[in-house]
Every structure is written in C-alpha cells, then in structure tokens.
C-alpha cells in the first residue's frame, strides 16, 4: 500500500513510547524516508531500544521488527504489554516467534 510518490512515513508509538514520541512533536510523527529500511533500522534512528518493541504495525498489519518499511507507510511501534488474547488474535505471536519480547516473560530488575 506504500505510495511511491511520497517521501515520508507516519510513525506512532504506543504505551510508554507514545509519551516519547510526543516529545518529538505532534502525533503522528512525520519522518522523511527516501529508501526502504527495516523496522530495526528505523527503531535505531528513533532511539527506541529493540527490547521495548514486541511488534510493529505497518499499514495496519503486524510484523516483526526486521520487516521492511517503505516511503508512504503508516508505522507504529508497540512495546510488550498488549493483553494476552489480543496478541494472539492480532497475530503478534505468529508473526514474531523469534523476538525475545514475544510472549516471553521479562524479569523485573
């Protein structure tokens, strides 16, 4: 669904990442993007630690962090913490079985 003519992406963050994005400016955060990059590279650019992301949404569909983001896409970063049945129903579990944050218990320090 990416529109080739666009050279920007719309980015959102949920849960505590929402507050972090708000510090950057209005929501959604509009970011210039000339060439496709992976979600992981995008996270790096935005200074979001990988273990704070369970899945990313790209144009309303769930993907693992290594999926490619194209100019024109609508992207959202979701930290671990979405209630259980929904992460199943929304496909977080199936799309993202190799991610540490997916359905794994992270010990509190």
């Amino acid at each position: 669904m990416s529109e080739q003519s666009k050279k920007t992406i719309e980015v959102r963050g949920f849960m505590h990442l929402d507050a972090a994005f708000r510090k950057k400016g209005p929501i959604p955060f509009i970011m210039e993007l000339e060439e496709p990059i992976t979600g992981a590279e995008l996270a790096n650019k935005l200074e979001i630690p990988w273990d704070e992301v369970e899945v990313i949404f790209i144009n309303g569909l769930t993907y693992a962090l290594d999926h490619e983001v194209h100019p024109g896409d609508r992207v959202a970063f979701l930290p671990p913490g979405c209630p259980g049945p929904y992460r199943l129903a929304l496909g977080f579990y199936s799309k993202n079985q190799n991610n540490e944050a997916n359905f794994k218990i992270k010990k509190k320090d």
């Binding site: 959102r12 949920f14 913490g81 979405c82 209630p83 259980g84 129903a89 496909g91 579990y93 509190k108």
Partner: protein
C-alpha cells in the same frame, strides 16, 4: 465452603443446607451454570417466578491467592433468553467464602410491590424491607452510602440499581468495591432478574467469621507465591495493564483496523488520541487530586487494571473505566471527549445498566436518528432518563436489539440479542467466531486465554485469515470457562498463559485448599469443556439451534475499512468450534 443457601421469595423462607455432592468440587461459573442447567426450566420467562438467580464465589475466593476475589452470578438471561454467567470484582465474593457459603440462590417471587434487602451474616440470612429512600430511581452511589451507614461501613453489597428495579433487559448487578465505589456483573440483564424477585440488595457482613480453611497451608503458601510472582513479573499483567488499564487497546485495535466505529461502519478512527489509554494515563497524572493510575477492584488484586478518573479539578468521576465502554461511546458513538465519556460511565454505574450494551445501544440510536452522533451531553441526558424511566430511557435500557428494531435498522450488532463489543469480527476473525458461538451471546470475555496448545496454534494466526481460528476460539472458550470457575480475574491469564509453572501453581493452590490432586487436564481443560456443554445444553432446551450461532448478516456484505474485508466463515466452519 459448606453452606448452600436458598432464599424463597414466594414464601419468604430461607433454607441452609449442606452443599449437594455434585456441586462440592465446583465454584464460580462452573457452579452457577451447572445449577441453572439443573434447576431452571429452560423455557421459563426470565422475569417470572420459575427463574432462579445464583451467586457463587470462585473455588479460591477468600484465600490469599492473588486476584481470586471475583464473584459469579448465574440465571436465565432476560436479554438473550439463554443461560448467563456474569462476574464481578468487589468484596462480596471473599465475604461469602469466609462465611463458608458456597452459593446463595434466590427463587420464587413475592406478591405486591415491596422491595427487600437480604441480609447475610454469621447468624444466618434475614429478609427485611428495603428503606424507601433507596428506591424509585435512587442512584447506586447514594444507595451504597445509605446501606453502609445502616449495616456497617465494611459490609459487602450487591445491588439492583434503578434499571434492575424497572426490570430492564440491560440492567446489571452492581457490587460495592473496597472504597464504596461500584463494580458490575454487567452483561445479560441479571439486575432485572434480581428486580423481578423484588430484591433491591444483598448485604453481607462477615464479622466473626474465621479464615477460609486450607487443607495444606504450607503447600498453598508456596503455590500462591509462585503464582503472584508470575503475575508481577509479566510485562502485560505486571506493567501494561496497571499503567494504561484495558483502554491500552484503543490505539492497538485502531492501528490494526479492528476498532469498530460509527456503529460498525469502519474499523479505524482519527480521534483515537482523544480516548486512548495513553491519554487517560497522562490526563490522570496531570490532574492529580483523587485520580489514580492504577487500582484493584478487590483486595488481593496485584495487577490493578482499574483506575480512578478525576475531573479538571481533581475530583473523582469514575473508576474501572474500561476499554469496552470507552470504545462504545468514544469510537462507536463518536463522542470525542474522554471527560464526557467518563460522566456517562459514572451515570451508567449509578443507574446499574450494562455499559457495553448501553453504549452500543446509544450508537444504534444515533444511526436510527434518536440521538445526534457524537453528542456527549445529549447521551448523558438520555442515559439519565433510564432512571426515571421515560419511554426513551426504557428503550435504551432494553439493549441494542430493541433499539435497532424500534428504529427499523438492519445494521444491528448483536448475537443472541446481546451487543457485540469492541473488536470488529471482519478484521479480527478469531474473535468473531467466539461472538458467534459462545452460549453467552456476543461476549469478548468468553474467549480468553488457555495453556500451551494455544501457543502452537497461535503460530499460524493472521487476524485477516481463517487458518487456525476455529481451534483458537474453541481453546480460548474452554480456558475461560475454567478460569471463571476459580474466582480468578480472567486477566491472570495474561500473566500465566505462557508460563507453565504458573498454570501448575494455580492448580496446586486448588489442590492444597481442598486436599485434591487434580491435574491441569482435570482442572482446566475437562472442567472448561463440561461447563460449556452444560451451558449449551440449557440453551438448546431453551430453543437455541446452530442457526443462532451466527453473526448479523451485514458483516457478510459490508466491507470494513481499512482492510475492506467481510465476515466469510461458512455455517459449517462456525459449527466446528463446538465440535468437542
């Protein structure tokens, strides 16, 4: 828990018996549903003398087990015409368990118009006339104050609000929480059943009762520790829910395109920021005063998904401000202001009406031209009319199906006449199967999480595709039925579903309390299946067939943006869910 109490409102007699053998190992939903299936005439009128309403704590209620204080209420539903189990927090369940009461049943129906209070304490059960000041439209907040002043600040209370007194099909039963605020056994109109039996309130005082007996206290303590640590360590149950409440789902469902809006005509909105959990959290923090980001609906809740939402001056408006209510008013009825939604939520609690059913009914009324889209003030005024009740108030209190009929609409989002909540079945297919097939009528809590096999099936799930969805819906429904029987808040599954030692700890607690040696298969899978079978058996005898397990037809021909999908499961595929 060895007492089985029956209150006969025809003769005004109370009998206390030993628990019948067949119910000894059951609690919560397993007990209420088996009882209704055994004793209620399936074809009876839900508001007539042959319906019975049963209150039962869960198996672990009253113990120190984290999150075990939920109460189940069962009866034939005036909304769906089928069996109903609805559960709630508050302090009632733990007090019943401490008094050794396995179940309290209300049957029969008195002559005349008087309303009564059923008072339960260490000396037994008495029936008294209800004080007139809490009748005829008195709100629940005031009624709780009056009853607490009369019977003691610490008593537990289960109330039929004005909606219950008027026997409206969407009336809930309101439970006093530890701070004197309100939690609800919301769905299916059980408040109307209470009202039909002329019970205004049950009041319970456990003064003088000892602790709940535990067969093996050491083993129990150990298992309880493992269990609560699992909850606290998990990112969902330990952190996500406490910070953002269930309203965390607004942004997530909106992004996924599964947030039904404007009476189910689209799956995404652009005002999600106004009503999201993130915004609620920031607003509560900013306003200070009475506001609290997290709060437990009963003593012993360690996950604390509830909150106190305060107004601009920091004054308490409402608590337990849930995703489904905020979705219903905010996205589905297009009210773009969280404060306006909070005042309506408070009013619904005060009147004792199911906030999901009523929010969906409001959006349906908007589509039918009875109310202006998105007008919070008009909705608040209309909801207040339920307490009068005016004809519009009665109509809203009769639920979404009734409003849809009265307005001549085809887009009426109900299954078995109960409103579909908060997740669009066209873009999140698995949840649609649960709405269609649960014996409860469209209910999102019927399909919560279970155990290990889920995780393997979960590996294929794509929300937009059919693969694996039938299996998931079946396993989720079985797991939910068993959790609802323990007295545990369903949300514990967020914290233990992916943690086998924690599931074992839950079963170990039951074993240690009752001196049993159940396995996970017995306590979770087999029990859950048996509960669902009893419920489905009741519905069948009440006249329900497979054809009632269908979503409204418009889902099949109205595509839902942004993914533009329709509901495309065949009847045969849907019927597979209950093939076990």
């Amino acid at each position: 828990m060895n007492k089985f109490i029956r209150v006969d409102m025809t003769t005004m007699k109370v009998t206390t018996d030993e628990v019948p053998d067949k119910y000894v190992g059951l609690g919560g939903r397993a007990l209420t549903s088996n009882f209704v299936a055994d004793e209620v005439k399936p074809t009876c009128h839900p508001l007539g003398k042959n319906n019975k309403i049963i209150f039962a704590p869960g198996l672990l209620s009253g113990t120190t087990a984290a999150n075990s204080g939920r109460i189940s209420v069962g009866a034939k539903s005036p909304l769906t015409g089928g069996i109903k189990e609805s559960n709630s927090g508050g302090s009632f369940s733990q007090k019943m368990a401490k008094l050794g009461i396995k179940a309290l049943v209300i049957e029969g129906m008195p002559e005349g118009d008087k309303f009564y209070i059923v008072k339960i304490d260490i000396n037994g059960v008495t029936i008294e006339e209800a004080p007139t000041e809490i009748l005829g439209g008195c709100g629940n907040y005031k009624a709780i104050e009056v009853l607490s002043a009369k019977y003691g600040e610490k008593v537990g209370i289960a109330l039929a609000g004005p909606a219950g007194e008027y026997r409206l099909p969407a009336a809930n039963i309101s439970f006093k929480d530890p701070e004197g605020n309100i939690r609800s056994a919301g769905r299916g109109g059980l408040g109307a059943v209470m009202g039909s039996k002329k019970i205004k309130a049950l009041v319970i005082d456990e003064t003088g009762a000892g602790a709940v007996p535990i067969a093996d206290p050491e083993k129990f303590k150990e298992a309880a520790k493992v269990f609560s640590k699992a909850l606290l360590d998990h990112p969902v149950s330990g952190q996500g829910l406490a910070a953002y409440g269930t309203d965390v789902l607004i942004n997530i469902l909106n992004e996924a395109g599964g947030l039904p809006a404007k009476n189910f005509t689209t799956g995404r909105i652009d005002w999600n920021d106004n009503i999201s959990g993130e915004t609620m959290n920031a607003t509560i923090q900013e306003r200070g005063g009475d506001g609290k980001i997290s709060h437990g609906c009963h003593q012993g809740c360690v996950m604390r998904c509830s909150q106190w939402y305060a107004d601009k001056n920091g004054k308490y408006i409402t608590s337990g401000f849930e995703y489904e209510t905020i979705w219903g008013l905010g996205a589905n009825a297009c009210i773009k202001d969280l404060d306006a939604i909070a005042y309506i939520d408070r009013e619904m609690d005060d009147i004792g009406i199911d906030s999901i059913e009523t929010a969906v009914a409001v959006a349906t009324a908007m589509e039918g031209g009875l109310l202006p889209w998105g007008d919070g003030e008009a909705v608040l005024a209309a909801v207040k009319e339920i307490a009068v009740p005016t004809p519009l108030g009665r109509l809203l209190g009769s639920g979404t199906g009734a409003v849809g009929n009265a307005c001549g609409l085809f887009r009426v989002p109900v299954v078995k006449n109960q409103a579909i909540p908060a997740y669009d079945p066209r873009n999140i297919k698995g949840i649609g199967l649960t709405y269609a097939t649960t014996p409860m009528g469209a209910d999102h809590t019927s399909g919560y999480c279970i155990a290990n096999n889920i995780l393997s099936i979960g590996g294929f799930i794509d929300p937009l595709k059919k693969e694996g969805q039938v299996d998931i819906s079946r396993f989720l429904q079985i797991g939910t039925a068993s959790i609802d029987s323990t007295g545990m808040c369903l949300f514990v599954w967020f914290g233990i579903a992916d943690n086998p030692p924690a599931i074992q700890a839950l079963v170990d607690m039951i074993n240690a309390q009752y001196g049993l040696s159940l396995t996970i298969q017995d306590a979770v899978v087999d029990l859950g299946k048996a509960v669902l079978k009893a419920e489905r058996g009741f519905n069948k005898a009440a006249g329900f067939t497979n054809e009632h397990d269908r979503l409204p037809e418009f889902f099949e021909y109205e595509p839902c943006a942004p993914h533009n999908l329709v509901w495309d499961f065949t009847p045969e595929e849907i019927d597979e869910v209950f093939n076990f």
